[in-house]
């Protein structure tokens, strides 16, 4: 990346020398700006964390009560030396943010993880004009097009109904933070939900921020076969179900809600039911986001970065890969 730029990649992560802070650093630093609470972006060991207030709550819950934090609202400007830093919705999960960095008339935006589909718990992605846009590309190939939530919900319910009729329990394996709440929001009024203790803890933490998450039962040893079969289980892993007496006496079918299940090799790899649901942008939304930034230079990270960069260059845009 151009060394004269506002942000450079160091062995600790994306660094703004002028403002003396890192974005989603990978090792201990003095000052970290965190895009969202997923563990591959928010790591322990930073002297100070700055994030959206919903993210801060999750960090205190996930990392430690004793970390030093600063909560900000979307759009609020924080000065770091002569650099103005502000966060805007990324639509990826609750509290997820793009980081806007401005100094000397130059604007850089770091997307973090983001999506443009609606999510009951994430403020909608907010396109920002900038000179340089640093975007993720987890699903940056033209074969990835997400179906609507309605389609996905209908498919999950058909699968669940067929399993129930045959006395088989249905469990969807999801991240406890983000995807779990999105599914709860979509499914709670269709089917009784039972969640693993990890997802329950995340729900409680989100409720403590004043955001309502539908009530669900908690997966425990005392759960009956009847509840297992009739309801839909959201679990963060197969382990959540292994030791339950009721789960051992009825069959449990495990499903995955992930963008990877959009293709046949992806479905085969996951060996289980696959529902195409992602918290990352698909091909069309990625390019829509890039063009809406009107950025002169695009920096692409995570995923199919070299493919996206080559494609953008062939379209006459200035682009480069950043291997974070």
């Amino acid at each position: 990346m151009a060394s004269s730029g506002l942000l450079t990649l160091t062995d600790r992560g994306l660094f703004c020398e002028r403002g003396n802070f890192y974005i989603d650093p990978v090792r201990s630093v003095e000052r970290a700006v965190i895009t969202h609470a997923h563990s591959d972006h928010a790591r322990p060991g930073m002297r100070h964390y700055l994030a959206h207030r919903h993210t801060v709550r999750l960090l205190l819950h996930r990392i430690s009560r004793s970390i030093s934090t600063q909560s900000v609202e979307y759009g609020e400007v924080v000065k770091m030396n002569d650099v103005s830093v502000s966060l805007f919705p990324a639509g990826h999960m609750i509290g997820s943010s793009q980081v806007r960095v401005e100094a000397g008339g130059e604007v850089w935006v770091v997307s973090g993880d983001y999506k443009r589909q609606p999510d009951p718990y994430a403020a909608p992605f907010h396109p920002l004009r900038c000179d340089t846009f640093i975007t993720e590309s987890t699903f940056g190939l033209p074969i990835y097009h997400w179906p609507s939530d309605d389609e996905v919900v209908a498919a999950i319910l058909r699968w669940h109904r067929a399993n129930t009729a045959c006395g088989v329990a249905s469990a969807v394996q999801v991240y406890s933070l983000g995807k779990a709440q999105r599914l709860i929001g979509l499914l709670a009024h269709h089917v009784p939900l039972t969640v693993s203790p990890g997802i329950h803890a995340a729900n409680e933490c989100i409720r403590a921020s004043g955001i309502s998450v539908a009530e669900t039962s908690i997966l425990s040893h005392s759960i009956s076969q009847e509840t297992l079969i009739r309801g839909l289980i959201l679990a963060s892993g197969a382990r959540d179900l292994q030791d339950l007496p009721a789960a051992r006496s009825v069959g449990v079918d495990m499903a995955f809600a992930s963008g990877w299940t959009a293709t046949e090799p992806g479905r085969r790899r996951n060996a289980g039911a696959g529902f195409v649901m992602s918290d990352h942008v698909d091909w069309d939304d990625l390019h829509k986001a890039i063009s809406e930034t009107e950025a002169e230079h695009i920096v692409v990270t995570h995923g199919f970065a070299s493919e996206v960069v080559q494609y953008l260059r062939e379209q006459g845009r200035s682009a480069e890969v950043l291997a974070i």
Partner: protein, 280 residues
């Protein structure tokens, strides 16, 4: 067509025969008995249409989704077969196919004797207004595949396969086909881990279907380390699931065992060497 595509997708989401039957019954009770019978003949493979070859689908798609060839090739490494990748490469559509399964199939049947251009045009027009799953199912049908990848709960199929065992292996050698035909390699020697090394287990006929075969053969050529006449030594990493009926001891093999009745089940593009079985 929408309900049928949903059924095909649903069937792939379970491996339980009773759940599959339940899904088929639910579908059957929502359509006429003629539609249900037609659906079953497609699903069990007894009705098979071949309207376009996979590469003809690909070039039809390319005419409306102009993407650079390298990006299409790259997409294919993640998208699976050529036909299916092509279906996924079409621009997003928010509509559904409005034709019934019967009218779709009778339209397809009437196309069988038209020339390539009109077949491509009609198919492309159909695909463009379909949802993603309808596209996948329709593409499979027109290229002569079964519309769903599920293993149907059929008694005789289960009985025939009951004595088989499965194993995950990596390709060690690719054997050149004796004459120039469709195939580059007629056999693959697959192996498993023994300690730190990979040892050959069986030389198995290349029975991949045309599409998968093209990909796997391409990979084998790319990964060829050295050639010993028609035998090409391939670097490990092409992961293949095999089935066999029995294992017997053998003093003539490095592995010390020999597989009987070995056959190829599937190429596992997203498996890594870590998944390969070991005989320790």
């Amino acid at each position: 067509m929408n309900r049928f595509a949903e059924l095909c997708a649903d069937l792939e989401r379970t491996t339980r025969p009773n759940v599959m039957r339940q899904m088929i019954d639910t579908y059957g009770s929502s359509v006429s008995s003629e539609t249900a019978a037609l659906a079953m003949s497609l699903i069990d493979g007894s009705l098979c249409l071949r309207i376009l070859r996979p590469r003809e689908v690909a070039s039809a798609v390319q005419s409306v989704a102009p993407l650079p060839q390298w990006l299409i090739d790259q997409s294919r490494t993640m998208g699976g077969t050529l036909a299916e990748t092509s279906a996924l490469l079409l621009p997003r559509s928010d509509s559904h196919c409005e034709h019934s399964l019967e009218s779709t199939i009778s339209l397809l049947t009437s196309l069988q004797h038209s020339d390539l251009r009109s077949r491509s045009e009609v198919i492309l027009a159909m695909l463009q207004v379909c949802s993603v799953w309808e596209r996948i199912v329709l593409t499979r049908i027109i290229t002569g595949s079964r519309p769903t990848r599920c293993d149907l709960p059929q008694q005789h199929v289960e009985a025939a396969e009951a004595t088989e065992h499965r194993m995950i292996t990596t390709v060690l050698y690719a054997h050149k086909a004796p004459s120039i035909g469709q195939q580059t390699y007629s056999h693959f020697t697959v192996g498993v881990k023994k300690g730190e090394i990979y040892v050959p287990l069986a030389k198995i006929p290349n029975t991949f279907n045309e599409e998968i075969s093209t990909i796997v053969e391409g990979l084998a050529t790319q990964r060829t380390v050295e050639k010993f006449g028609p035998t090409h030594w391939v670097s490990v990493g092409i992961i293949v699931e095999i089935a066999y009926t029995d294992i017997v001891p053998s003093t003539r093999t490095k592995s010390g065992i020999k597989l009987l009745g070995a056959r190829i089940v599937a190429w596992l593009p997203n498996h890594a060497l870590a998944h390969v079985d070991s005989i320790d």
